[in-house]
Symmetry: none
């Protein structure tokens, strides 16, 4: 079964930065986590803000934590603000319920990790995450 | 007087997972706490997200913390979001004001613990909690 | 490949409590975590102290965090107290460098989770953890 | 003046992992921080423990925080354990006073960031950090 090795995770990060250059968007920070929510690879582009690593990690962690892609998390956060405010505290600030957090599945559909990107508008962040995951031959689940 | 022993708490958890299978809902995490808000038993189903244990515990802790079932907590959180945001901090993130947290009472009506379930829609989580508590011969107080 | 399902994790916990009864030791709390350090099953015996769940989880988390069994963690903590004091803060209190935290490996030697037990002397806690893991047909790595 | 760009930081990380393979040591996690103590690049090798990213970052952050290499921090922590216990709390767990945290200077001697490595014995971690920094044409200050 295909799992998320360091090599594969590094490839995803580099594809995301390649996409950033191609569409000339704001400087991004890209994080890839394993299924336990632990960092495998992170790269912060020159000029990407100092909070971006924490945001990118929180986008990637949140989708694993809830088992839902960033789009669904964002919709649910709009619908139930009090619960998501509570989730922020429950998770110790580990959740960013917004686009740009994407679950990574292998060809069997098994969850093998997640990607979180922060730096531009959340839909642009998500576009780069999905591109990178698919370019790496994996399945992107943005919720 | 009937209290919440490990055996009884384990029975509640297993009934809740039995219900999960019966209604074929999303994979659940089930927590049972004593009256002090301390964990007695927790089981996380295969495929249940990594934040689910903290959410299930927070649902169970919150109902004990306020002495109100999850339904009332959810209604109050909608009505007074600023206060519940404060409660989140006051409790150190121990409260999840949403359905799925249920107080457990014995046949004398005495509080003996609580159940918290997370994994599916909060009303489904609550259904499994109430089923399990009553199936164990106890009184479920969902607020 | 054999992984740590809820059923298997539950079996380990129940074997540990069976051992507790057999040797008539102090009431134990037993936790089983997946490889990401997230709780799969926890049971706290009647009379086991209210901090025991956190200690059991920290024993199990610490061995995963460092990739070393509890015995080695204990030895290293004796040898480098300042570093382990720092590790306590770095990990947010997630590490208990003492016997009773045991890595769980499958027959291929792959890490599939960990067990942490707290309640009696740490060597007794460890004995119950090793017994339970091996009784479940898995490999116990106590470091 | 030479600064620590993402490209340069990535090069350092990859040289460190190249060294890991060359000496066949334990799987390492390598972090590179900018002068503000914020993550630029992190890579965690397959099999490196889940706490390793936090330790690697704390090694790199600690040397920046005190303006001293990991060797000096380790010596001072042995000599003044109470003070370093306080520093752990003061820094919110951001300091790991042990070898493996190395300041990065440019050819003018200006501080441009730091490297932290965790996974093997701390002297081995440091060896890989120094190798990588010098291989990248920069000055390694291990204290």
């Amino acid at each position: 079964m295909q799992t998320l090795t360091l090599n594969l995770a590094s490839t995803i990060v580099d594809y995301a930065l390649e996409k950033m250059d191609a569409i000339n968007c704001q400087p991004l920070t890209v994080a890839v986590l394993d299924t336990g929510g632990h960092l495998l690879v992170l790269k912060r582009s020159d000029g990407s803000g100092i909070l971006r690593p924490d945001i990118a990690i929180a986008k990637a962690w949140g989708v694993l934590g809830m088992g839902l892609g960033g789009r669904q998390l964002a919709q649910r956060a709009e619908a139930a603000p009090a619960f998501f405010a509570a989730l922020s505290s429950i998770s110790g600030g580990r959740i960013a319920p917004v686009q740009g957090g994407v679950l990574v599945r292998n060809d069997e559909g098994s969850l093998i990790g997640s990607v979180g990107i922060s730096g531009d508008r959340s839909d642009v962040d998500e576009t780069c995450a999905i591109y990178a995951i698919e370019r790496a031959g994996l399945v992107a689940d943005a919720g």
